[in-house]
Symmetry: C2
Subunit: 333 residues, 2 copies
DNA sequence: GATTCAGGTTGGAACGTTCCAAGAGGTCCT
DNA sequence: AGGACCTCTTGGAACGTTCCAACCTGAATC
């Protein structure tokens, strides 16, 4: 028999299906003897409850779905870990799908979760946005991590990207830099605010003529092409703010390959503070985001929305923190 | 209305539920006019098929479940990407759960997938093994990636870890090293064969007295504690083979922190060839595994098993490839 | 000895699909 | 005109649970 059902267990144990159901959800109003008989039968048959059937009749799945834009970025591992823990503690389960930063695949990944009737949807730094996401949020509680969306139905957990970018520029200006370029995150979540925070801060320091934003992306590759383009353009900046750590790693490698010294010739700053950039080899100055907490908070918001269906949208904004390491220093003379 | 059903759509469109069902699975025997009416009604109501109901009656979910032991390791991102692509191309969908290298959580993650009645189960480098996994494989086609299990019901896709380890040792011996230590992967998938490959190769080179295996783990932290312990013991080896790249990064950082030179004082080798270690900063000599292909092959095996239920177990073993970079060199004089 | 009560157990309806056998209309052939 | 045969459409049963109201049994109460 492929998958024994509750009825098979009932037969084996000589009781009704209802009683088996009670035992499975361990109700307290079944006698010790029946409970034992049922459990014995269940394990003898290798019974496993069928979540699909359960979901149907309860019209709740007790599952939270998480769509992750980019599994390659270790940033998300911690966010997911936070989500998973909080959700598990509350008696739910988390499942993931991934979109690989491709809008079409992201949409499919989200649709999969919606069709499975997850009770809550968490989007970790989605590339897609707009109507599609808003539509989704109309049928299921939705939280976005890493980016905010203007819609009254969608909660968000972000760090203050604009502020983080400003802290970076302040730090560089303080070191004496004026010619500071930015390699952006393209269409990625949070890329916009970081870019505009950069520009705003530059203007605030009277450096509007030195604003220079290059196209990059939230990947190693994005960082390296951005840096390659930047170096090719001539008029080398003395510092570069790269949209995230992964891209900064790519950018650093291009600089190393060009025989330039960091921070002697050029200072580099990233964003995220993933553990890989903390070591002596990279020693990247970056902006820390409390990843694990972001995951926990996202889960908290979702659970709150599921269980008390709070009508209004919450937007949690966490404070970024500058982490200074060896990749930044005074500009060359 | 929270979730419109096929019946709501039928009412709206003025047809029977059966016809709506046919349109949804786009059957070719519905008239153009009804098809249009149904689609219009469906999108007006925001109808989304309920996968739980579908799974119930078809007794197939068209979903492949993937349990990933460690999302922090970028190695898996590529494996998952390969799985996702192959599975999607075949008309299935992939969902993930994660166990965070903790056996208890892994078991829960697997149970979640089984209860959802996934049609196939892929375990990416699970820490758990034994009865639990074998039980699972009795009810659903199962493939393990990164580790082999002796059971006639379980397929596996691995690289030849033992051989890979031997290639590492051969390389180091050729450079002139004799005192070569190993920081292992603990209980992680593939850790055993790499450890024994190391030991066997050392013996083969007549270096049995120099065998020294330290406890590590497949994480940065594991590598750094392993290396810290190793350095604390005195009698510093001239080369260390670390169980994977992530751990090697941790180990390198400890070495850097101790003021030692790589490869001048000590050579380091990793395993996996994740992109992060390829750059100038780390330049880690390592062993390449064809991650993406491993994912595709795992998916291929699962689909084959699902659709043609092949009875016997397949074990695919891929060839590792040594990638020599700057972290290895001749031993100090 | 009848009545109430509590503890334990039960069958049936419902959830939202798919599948199947069968029905409704048309067209075409003889 | 009658039948055969299309094409399109339909209602009902089934999938494996949960939930509910109802039932049974024996003990406690009057």
């Amino acid at each position: 028999m492929k998958h024994p059902t509750i009825l098979d267990v009932a037969n084996e144990a000589g009781v009704s299906k209802s009683l088996v159901s009670l035992v499975m959800r361990d109700s307290d109003r079944v006698s010790a003897s029946s409970r034992e008989a049922v459990l014995k039968a269940a394990s003898a048959l290798g019974y496993r409850p069928n979540a699909a059937a359960r979901t149907m009749v309860r019209r709740r799945s007790y599952v939270v779905g998480v769509m992750v834009s980019d599994l390659r970025n270790p940033f998300f591992a911690d966010v997911i870990d936070g989500i998973d823990m909080a959700v598990t503690d509350a008696g739910y389960r988390a499942i993931l799908t991934t979109g690989n930063r491709a809008p079409e695949r992201e949409r499919l990944a989200i649709a999969t979760l919606l069709e499975m009737r997850v009770d809550g949807l968490i989007l970790a730094s989605p590339v897609v946005g707009g109507e599609f996401v808003i539509d989704a949020s109309r049928t299921v509680p939705t939280v976005i991590v890493g980016k905010a969306i203007r819609a009254s139905t969608i909660d968000s957990v972000t760090n203050d990207d604009r502020r983080g970018a400003e802290m970076v520029i302040d730090h560089l200006v303080e070191l004496g830099h004026r010619c500071i370029a930015h390699i952006d995150g393209g269409v990625g979540a949070g890329a916009g605010p970081r870019r505009s925070g950069y520009a705003r801060s530059m203007r605030r320091h009277g450096l509007e003529d030195d604003i220079r934003s290059m196209r990059g992306g939230f990947t190693e590759e994005g960082g390296s092409t951005g840096m390659t383009d930047l170096l090719a353009e001539g008029a080398r900046p003395t510092a570069v703010f790269v949209a995230n750590d992964l891209a900064a790693i790519g950018a650093l490698d291009v600089i190393d390959g060009a025989g330039l010294n960091v921070p002697g010739d050029i200072s580099i700053v990233g964003y995220d503070n993933i553990s890989l950039v903390a070591g002596h080899r990279l020693g990247l100055t970056t902006v820390d985001q409390p990843r694990h907490d972001m995951g926990r908070m996202a889960a908290g918001l979702i659970l709150e929305k599921i269980e008390q269906d709070r009508p209004s949208a919450s937007h949690v904004v966490l404070s970024p923190k500058l982490i200074v390491r060896e990749s930044t220093g005074p500009p060359p003379l």
